[in-house]
Symmetry: C2
Amino acid sequence: MEIAMPESTAAYQPTPRTVPTRARERAAYDRELVHGILDEAYVCHLGFVRDGAPVVLPTLYGRVDERLYVHGSTGSRPLRMTAAGGGTERAAESEAGPGLAVCLTVTLVDGLVLARSAFHHSINYRSVVVHGIARQVTDPEERRTALDAIVDHVVPGRSYDSRPANARELAATAVIRLDLDEVSAKVRTGGPNDDPEDLSLPHWAGVVPLARGYGAPVRSDDLDPAIALPDYLSAL
Amino acid sequence: MEIAMPESTAAYQPTPRTVPTRARERAAYDRELVHGILDEAYVCHLGFVRDGAPVVLPTLYGRVDERLYVHGSTGSRPLRMTAAGGGTERAAESEAGPGLAVCLTVTLVDGLVLARSAFHHSINYRSVVVHGIARQVTDPEERRTALDAIVDHVVPGRSYDSRPANARELAATAVIRLDLDEVSAKVRTGGPNDDPEDLSLPHWAGVVPLARGYGAPVRSDDLDPAIALPDYLSAL
């Protein structure tokens, strides 16, 4: 017997920041959809405010249930700002310690949408936008979990087949956490939305699908020839 | 006879915002490199500040020489904010009219970098970060040029093979411009940077190349069967 999940656990609660002003039919709050997009992309774009101006940097990330983790050198700007609680008015001190107001966005491009009209050209995509306060992770166990998640985000299972971070590496690495709380997805699928009066125009219309292509793995020159390609890579 | 370009035109001038605090050897300011990355990606991530907090949205864009263009509904938030000059302290009025402080970032993921150590896992990528004040484009001719560039960014040459925007569509579309002035690229290539003492560990090490894959174009159901696939699509 299947038990229906209550609305509150199956979906994120929309907020004024996560309800778009337009194309509302493309907005979605389903947790499974959001997790799927976050897990499929390799890079997120992390936005924060420095000296009153926006900064958007690409970075690796990892997900553990309803938490996203980003890591970096303890010397990198956003990680220093998170520890110091600097950046914006919203990043006030709280019982959880200082933090940094961020917007973390992930986008997958699925296709080029060619309409008869220039106006209706578009792309098919799936994106997730997360708003919140990033906080530095100090608990040693949570830091290890986060770093494993970031490695496993690059290749699932890889954290079991690599040398874990040592004390020196851990000391040089800052980890920040962003809870999946104020979250929305946006999805466009399907063909072009041409106006009826344009349907007879002599222009090709349709979609060019885009997908990620994996090339043959390239071994490091200095890799022991006895080490075979692991199954988790040949499966890509 | 070849004439060497002076440094000032071949490269963007670094600024405090475009010189990274770490991994400086990965930062680049070469215009040709920057243009190549911008032209190859399909989506940018546009960051701006709303109510003191960062917002990062994926969007299409187009490039014309040293100018980037983004378009959207006149009702969309960043485009309204650009016209109103709202958002941040930096977006002050100037002789060029109001504007919006933005950071526009484009990232291409080229490979997964697997090191023996978890710490040295990484990705190969090429990214461009543009800081500046986005301004609304009002000149009708520049607006047309910008909209063509955005369509041609999806498929080069497509603006010649689609119906141009009509008066109603133009009235519903806002176009903003961001000059390529404060710009940097960041590039990581090559294999993992394992520490010498890790080279004998029994873990596979190397790179899994990633590339964009185009699927077979999917015709719209309502497309006249007499219309063949154009050359610019079969070439993809």
